[in-house]
């Protein structure tokens, strides 16, 4: 179990501490309550571009990385549809360097025009490298708008199009910082071998005087319940056909998250799982097929994605997927199959928790979701899932009306 203490500074910054004396390191993790969902539809990709700018110098410190590296530390960050997360790992006795750097960029950025110009180019190259110059790289650009008609999950974190990144200007950057980057909208998690008597004073010292800012009031309407099946077929210059099916399920904090996770493990992820055995090995319809969940804070998805063998008709291939889904609804789930996926979860979790960084990030995510109870309940939440729960989940979500299907046809 992961233990932690928490307190809140006067300016509203929430702080969690996770002490671990077995490591020579500390991790300083800051999670900001802003992601691609908070962007305007005409300025997508901004939260992620902004993440890049956070490394371009802050109000009192010209360069973020150099002092950190001088102290033996390393930093990185990621943005998703829901949040933006920054983490530094540093030798424990140099913790103040990380607090100094992180707190200064929470106080204010330098808002440097050159940094904006360069990072726009960097992000455009990232867009090309990961989404345009890769086979199947742009699929989610077309699939998301099929699934989400009104909700901002309809665009990916990198942005809808290159022009949105190109058009960003320094005034937008300042406004974004003011709206989203302040103690009121962040959670600081420090983990590792810090000095227990000193840590609160150190945090108070570096963060205490940062103005609180204004709590961001998110007003995003939920995506309406899907009323009819949605389908889309696209042609791409790719070596084989592919099928993607997405079913809307509940969000990260709903029970659907755990149920969906186990169902996806029954279907895929091991050589003993159903889709691999039946569709890849026995029927030879797919060369590869996977099931997984996306755990959006607002809406979740259950996704099945597969590359078909040449000559296979996509209608037949999709029918075979449906046969597997119907088997989950109508057939019997052997007790051993359920025990199997629960045991695999337990092992995977134990290995993930070995990493200090994983533990700290997990704490940050759960804290921002107000879902810290999960830390103690997680194994139990999975353990109490019954085969009836699994069946009900499948019956509820694997329906025609809840289907979003994308067929990718190879033009080669």
């Amino acid at each position: 179990m992961i233990h932690y203490d928490q307190f809140t500074l006067k300016n509203g910054l929430r702080v969690l501490l996770h002490h671990d004396q077995t490591t020579p390191l500390v991790v300083v993790n800051t999670i900001y309550n802003v992601g691609a969902r908070d962007e305007s539809p005409n300025q997508t990709g901004f939260a992620h571009l902004f993440e890049h700018l956070m490394f371009g110098g802050s109000i009192n410190i010209e360069n973020f990385d150099k002092p950190l590296q001088l102290a033996g530390g390393e930093c990185n960050a990621f943005t998703n549809n829901d949040i933006t997360n920054y983490y530094s790992t540093i030798p424990a006795n140099n913790i103040e360097t990380a607090l100094w750097l992180e707190s200064d960029r929470m106080l204010s950025l330098a808002f440097n025009q050159k940094s904006l110009d360069v990072q726009k180019n960097v992000v455009i190259e990232e867009f090309k490298q990961r989404y345009l110059n890769q086979p199947y790289g742009d699929l989610w650009h077309v699939f998301r708008p099929l699934i989400f008609k009104t909700h901002p999950y309809q665009w990916p974190t990198i942005g809808k199009e290159l022009s949105h990144v190109e058009n960003a200007n320094i005034a937008d950057v300042k406004a974004f910082f003011k709206k989203h980057y302040s103690p009121q909208n962040a959670i600081l998690v420090v983990g590792g071998n810090f000095e227990q008597d000193l840590i609160k004073c150190q945090i108070e010292k570096w963060y205490g005087d940062i103005p609180p800012g204004k709590k961001y009031d998110r007003q995003i309407l939920p995506e309406p319940i899907q009323q009819a099946e949605r389908r889309l077929q696209i042609k791409r210059d790719v070596p084989s056909n592919a099928i993607y099916i997405a079913f809307r399920i509940g969000n990260r904090t709903s029970n659907d998250h755990y149920l969906g996770d186990l169902v996806s493990d029954i279907l895929s992820g091991s050589k003993s799982s159903r889709l691999y055995e039946n569709l890849v090995k026995q029927k030879k319809l797919f060369s590869q097929v996977n099931a997984y969940i996306s755990s959006g804070f607002e809406h979740g998805l259950f996704i099945i994605a597969g590359f078909t063998q040449n000559e296979v008709d996509l209608t037949d291939a999709e029918a075979a997927i449906w046969q597997e889904l119907n088997e989950l609804i109508e057939g019997d789930l052997a007790p051993s199959e359920l025990i199997k996926v629960k045991n695999k979860f337990k092992t995977a979790k134990a290995f993930q928790n070995q990493s200090l960084l994983n533990r700290v990030m997990n704490l940050s995510q759960l804290a921002i979701l107000d879902h810290l109870d999960e830390l103690h309940l997680e194994n139990e939440l999975y353990n109490q899932i019954s085969s009836t729960d699994i069946k009900n989940f499948c019956k509820k979500y694997f329906t025609k009306t809840n289907t979003n299907a994308l067929h990718v046809i190879s033009s080669q």
Binding site: T23, P24, W100, R130, V238, N343, F351
Partner: protein, 419 residues
């Protein structure tokens, strides 16, 4: 508190390394065991000299490795996977140019059951035709998909010209090779390179003596034939190789050369130079080509140590229009290392970053075991890491300049661009 003044920095002078105990399992098989860990996880690695360098026909070594647990005429691969999964076990196949094997992940109360399945199915050595055919199909698909990627193509061309096609490192599989794999090839490889050589076994986890007894009995399987020594005939090409890919919007670039191995006096200097040039986020290549020019999402350099060769390589993907300018800048940065002393401040940043990195890479028992494995498998001294830490501390700008002059001449490099 003054935010303009950086907090005082403590330097890293030593790192506490914990090496595993060596246990004799009998039959000349060694177990390396780190027992005292703070949780219930168990990781168990088996490593043989069974990488691609040992194969006489493309793909045989990797197919053999991937199909080690594919069953026989009475036990299906699914039944094997089911038995492992039932106890929450994970099995991963590890495969490289020199070494190959597998890793088992489980919890302390289930490792015995998981390992029993693995140990008995490892002994099948049967390799059913059906499983081979399935794997051929899957790998052919992967191959075709990878052919679309500029980065993969650049890497392949680089490998081919770096080692030459006279050496197994430089021989690349082509699509037809997937058709030509025969069951007999795989079975022979299994007999020669798994059953007839001794594995090294690495264990991290708080298992009981009964489990060690199981390992002892597994260790008796192996006979003692030495695998053939492979002659060293690596011939590196130099110069530029450019292959155009119509419709590509980025070019993948690889620039590199063979260098001396870990036991050579210049090696630590090369590691420091590599870090300065492209080994961390603040490196010169990142600062110039990403952070100043915005040509790329990322650029880096690395040193790769194989048994028969060690090489240094720079790699990036840049917009098509920036390719020439990026190449010029890369060579400018190499030249700068040969002509200017690295400023003190930068050298200090790099030293501290490298030592901090070392600390991160030794955090936890599994990480510590990885460090030990590296020195054991590459036949390095147990003092290798202390020497490394001291070597980094004592590095001087003058030494770096001398070493850069020796190894960073443009004419000695191989340059690949694809896209």
């Amino acid at each position: 508190m003054n935010r303009l003044i950086a907090p005082v920095i403590q330097h890293i002078n030593q790192v506490d390394l914990i090496f595993p105990n060596r246990i004799d399992l009998g039959n000349n098989v060694n177990l390396f065991w780190l027992k005292d860990i703070p949780d219930d996880t168990v990781k168990l690695d088996f490593i043989w000299n069974a990488g691609s360098i040992h194969q006489h026909k493309p793909l045989v070594a990797s197919f053999c490795n991937q199909l080690l647990f594919s069953g026989n005429n009475t036990t299906t691969s699914k039944a094997i996977a089911d038995n492992i999964d039932q106890y929450g076990g994970y099995l991963s196949h590890n495969f490289g140019k020199d070494l190959a094997g597998f890793s088992v992940f489980a919890l302390v109360d289930t490792i015995g059951e998981v390992f029993s399945t693995i140990a008995s199915s490892f002994q099948h050595g049967y390799f059913p035709e059906k499983e081979i055919a399935k794997w051929q199909e899957i790998k052919k698909k992967d191959y075709v998909l990878n052919e679309e990627k500029v980065s993969v193509n650049a890497r392949k061309l680089f490998t081919k010209h770096l080692f030459g096609d006279q050496h197994p490192y430089g021989r690349l599989a082509v699509l037809e090779d997937y058709e030509n794999i025969q069951r007999a090839d795989i079975r022979n490889f299994y007999t020669e390179h798994y059953l007839s050589t001794k594995p090294s076994i690495f264990l991290v986890g708080n298992v009981d003596e009964a489990f060690i007894t199981k390992l002892k009995s597994f260790a008796q399987l192996f006979t003692n034939q030495q695998s053939a020594v492979i002659p060293n005939n690596i011939i590196q090409s130099t110069g530029q190789f450019y292959k155009e890919k119509p419709k590509a919007i980025q070019s993948a670039i690889r620039i590199g050369r063979l260098i001396v191995n870990k036991k050579h006096d210049d090696y630590i200097a090369l590691q420091v130079l590599n870090t300065i040039l492209g080994g961390y986020f603040g490196s010169r290549l990142m600062a110039n080509i990403r952070e100043d020019k915005g040509f790329t999402y990322g650029i880096g350099s690395s040193i790769v140590a194989l048994e028969e060769a060690t090489y240094f390589a720079i790699s990036t993907e840049v917009g098509i229009a920036s390719r020439t300018a990026a190449l010029t800048e890369i060579y400018n940065e190499l030249k700068r290392l040969q002509t200017e002393l690295v400023p003190n401040e930068e050298l200090q940043v790099v030293k501290n970053y490298m030592l901090g990195s070392f600390l991160r890479n030794t955090d936890g028992a599994i990480a510590m075991m990885e460090k030990y494995k590296a020195i054991y498998l590459q036949d390095l001294n147990e003092s290798y890491y202390t020497d490394y830490i001291n070597g980094v501390h004592e590095m001087t700008a003058e030494k770096l300049l001398t070493v850069a002059k020796k190894y960073f001449n443009k004419n000695d490099f191989l340059e690949i661009s694809y896209g």
